[in-house]
Each structure stands twice: as structure tokens, then as C-alpha cells.
């Protein structure tokens, strides 16, 4: 079941009245959506309010979602429009350097996010980044390679198995262990949020 299939399954569950399924979609994409909104709205607590509004709008409009595009691409558009409308409502001008919708899946806020984020939140983001990088560096070679090929290069388990010359089950296990090790490192930071 591909990542997109999982999202579609969750969307259909929501359409059948399952609120918990929508919670999973929120938890999956909240960090990315917040980064998108952070491109438009400097204040972090204001950005959170807008993020809540984005997910609420997405929920209300979910009856119209037919899966023609990926769920994230769809909710990304809602995020951009909501953030812009928010600025217009406050008589503030949205930035002119919009992200093209084609780049939505690979969106990187780059320097704008750094400039616009509040210092304490940017500090947390940098701290998480530093710890994730350090945790990956500390991993045994086979775990580091497996998680990097998966998360950074986007290879499938089959492709990683071929690259690492090992069974698919081993790839699965290595990626799992790598995630657990990184999670242990950043969990204390997440509890601060």
C-alpha cells in the first residue's frame, strides 16, 4: 500500500465519519503545513492559528476530494490560499515569491522561513535538525545507509535490498531500528513543544 494509497484510505475513512483518520492526516502533515504557512506569516502562534484553519477548511472540503491529486498537494493549496487570505484580511501584503504548486511536494522554505520564524521556534527547529543529523551520524553503517536511501533518496525497499545486497526483510528491520534510534534522540526536544 503506497503512501498515497494510505492517504486515500484515510480520506475515505474520514468521509465515512471516522474523525480519528483525519487526526492521522493532521499529524502526518502538520510540520510541513506549518512550514508553508511560516513562509507567509512570521508570528509562530499566528501561524498555528492559520494552520488550524487550514486543516478545518480541508476537513470541510474533504467531501469534494476525489484523489485526483495527492492529499498533500491538495492541502498545500488550501494552506497557501488561507495564509494569503489571512494577510489580506489584516491588510498585509503576501510575499510575491510564491512557491509553484508543482514544487509543493518538495517545498523548502529556505531562507525565508529562517527570516520569518520567531527566534525560539527557529531555535527548536535547528535543535531538532542538529539532533537528527547527529543521530544519523551515530548509527551503525548499515542502518545509516538504509534510512538515508529510504528517506533522502526515496528508494523502495526492493531497490534498497538490491543496493545493500540483503533481503527485503533486513531492509525493513534496519530502517525501523534507525528510526527508533533517531526518535530516542529527539523525543525530549519534542516534549518541549
Amino acid at each position: 500500500m503506497s503512501d498515497r494509497d494510505v492517504d486515500q484510505e484515510l480520506v475515505e475513512r474520514v468521509q465515512r465519519g471516522d474523525l480519528g483518520a483525519f487526526d492521522l492526516l493532521v499529524r502526518k502533515y502538520q510540520h510541513r503545513i506549518l512550514a508553508v504557512i511560516g513562509r507567509y506569516i512570521r508570528d509562530f502562534s499566528e501561524a498555528q492559528d492559520v494552520a488550524q484553519e487550514v486543516f478545518l477548511r480541508a476537513y470541510r472540503a474533504l467531501g469534494n476530494f476525489r484523489g485526483e491529486s495527492a492529499f498533500y498537494t491538495w492541502v498545500y493549496k488550501i494552506a497557501v490560499n488561507t495564509a494569503k487570505n489571512h494577510l489580506v484580511a489584516l491588510r498585509r501584503r503576501p510575499p510575491s515569491d510564491d512557491v509553484d504548486i508543482e514544487d509543493a511536494m518538495h517545498f523548502s522554505a529556505d531562507s525565508q522561513l529562517k527570516d520569518r520564524a520567531t527566534p525560539e521556534n527557529e531555535l527548536l527547529r535547528q535543535e531538532i535538525e542538529r539532533n537528527v543529523t547527529a543521530a544519523v551520524d551515530d548509527l551503525p553503517e548499515e542502518l545509516r545507509m538504509a534510512i538515508t536511501l529510504r528517506e533522502v533518496e526515496g528508494l523502495s525497499y526492493e531497490e534498497i535490498a538490491e543496493a545493500m545486497d540483503c533481503p527485503i526483510g533486513t531492509v525493513r528491520s534496519r530502517i525501523f531500528r534507525a528510526r527508533e534510534a533517531i526518535e530516542r534522540r529527539i523525543r525530549p526536544l519534542l516534549s518541549e513543544t
Binding site: 499529524r27 522561513l113 533522502v152
Partner: protein, 207 residues
């Protein structure tokens, strides 16, 4: 307590490498397992961070909870039938209606008594199909001048006339038997007689 196997399955789910049934099971479990849900959010954050740390901004725990509380009072966003599908259904019904009407447009009276030019060509001006729950007599009362063919214990024979409050009027119009044992419909065919050649006379039996 979340088992290690569930966590390993979760890792595979995030990578799109879990089977359909296992995925469905795990998604269900996720909804009821807060600890597993936290892990799910954390691993997605790790992935976002590895793909490009600036494409993510760590969301506080409260955000998901706020959204959850906000949608709790909302109506369920039921999937709406696209307009095109609705039109397709309507078009299908319209086509079926046209085909049904066309099939009964020209009906030949087969009875010897009604043969020749007296019957002429039976033309159904309009037709009506109704559930068999409606009694044929009810329909006859509504259409006293029109012959009725129905699915009954004994089909109306060709050239026969169904009982009517106005037998004389019925006798002026020919009737064709239409018996469909496999259907559940009564088919009412209001019929008119198209005049045959002007020179031909109507037989006395048809008066």
C-alpha cells in the same frame, strides 16, 4: 503498550511497504493507540527533517489536539457524487425510457376480428410503466377510454377488450396483448387508431 511488531509495521506503513490488510488494521489501531500515534508523528517529522530540515517546522502537540477539537463539532464531510456521474445516470434513464417507448410505438393487432383495415395501425401516443403493486383496475378507471394490457393471471387476448366503465369506447379501439411473465411491471399503452385508407369501411363487428 505498543508492541515492537506494531512499531515495525508502522515503519513499513510510513514507507508504503505494508500490505493492504495489514495497513488497514494498523490504521485502525493507530486511532486508538496514543503512544503509537505519537511515534507516527515523530517518524514523519524525522523524515521531513532528513529530506530538508527547512521544509518542516515542528508543530506543537497542541495543534493536532486543537484541530481534533475543532472538527468534533463539524458535520461529516460525506463524499459527494460528482455532477458527471449524476448526469450519466440521468442520461441512462432517459435512454432506457426512449428505448422502451420506441419498442411499443408500433403495435400490430393480431386478432382475426381486428384484422384488415378496421384496426389500422395501432399507435401508442404515450406509455406508462408502473409497479405491479398498482392494480390494473385503478389504471383503467383513470384511463377509461384506453385499452389496457397487463400482467394478469390470464393475459388479455389479441382483439379482446379489457373491462372498462365505457365498453363502447373500448370497443372502438383495438387491443394488443402484451404479457411479460418475467417482469414486474404493468404496461399501459394508451392507443389511438390511425385511420386506414379513406375508401375502406370499418367492419360492422368493430362498431
Amino acid at each position: 503498550m505498543t508492541s515492537s511488531s506494531h512499531r515495525e509495521d508502522l515503519s513499513a506503513l510510513i514507507d508504503g511497504a505494508l500490505g493492504r490488510s495489514e495497513s488497514a488494521f494498523l490504521l485502525r489501531r493507530l486511532e486508538h493507540d496514543a503512544e503509537l500515534r505519537e511515534t507516527y508523528a515523530c517518524w514523519h517529522l524525522i523524515g521531513d527533517c532528513l529530506r530538508g530540515s527547512r521544509s518542516m517546522m515542528p508543530a506543537p502537540h497542541a495543534l493536532a489536539e486543537r484541530v481534533r477539537a475543532a472538527i468534533a463539532t463539524e458535520a461529516v464531510p460525506r463524499r459527494r457524487l460528482p455532477l458527471q456521474v449524476g448526469l450519466r445516470w440521468a442520461a441512462g434513464f432517459a435512454t432506457a425510457a426512449v428505448v422502451a417507448a420506441s419498442a411499443f410505438w408500433y403495435v400490430q393487432p393480431g386478432a382475426p376480428g381486428a384484422s384488415g383495415t378496421d384496426a389500422g395501425q395501432l399507435v401508442a401516443g404515450e406509455s406508462e410503466v408502473t409497479r405491479s403493486g398498482v392494480r390494473a383496475d385503478d389504471l383503467r378507471r383513470q384511463l377509461p377510454l384506453l385499452p389496457v394490457s397487463s400482467r394478469s393471471s390470464r393475459p388479455v387476448g389479441a382483439g379482446e377488450f379489457a373491462p372498462t366503465p365505457d365498453p363502447e369506447a373500448w370497443q372502438k379501439a383495438p387491443v394488443t396483448s402484451l404479457h411479460y411473465p418475467s417482469t414486474q411491471y404493468i404496461i399501459v399503452l394508451p392507443a389511438t387508431v390511425r385511420p386506414a385508407a379513406p375508401a375502406q369501411e370499418r367492419p360492422a363487428s368493430a362498431q
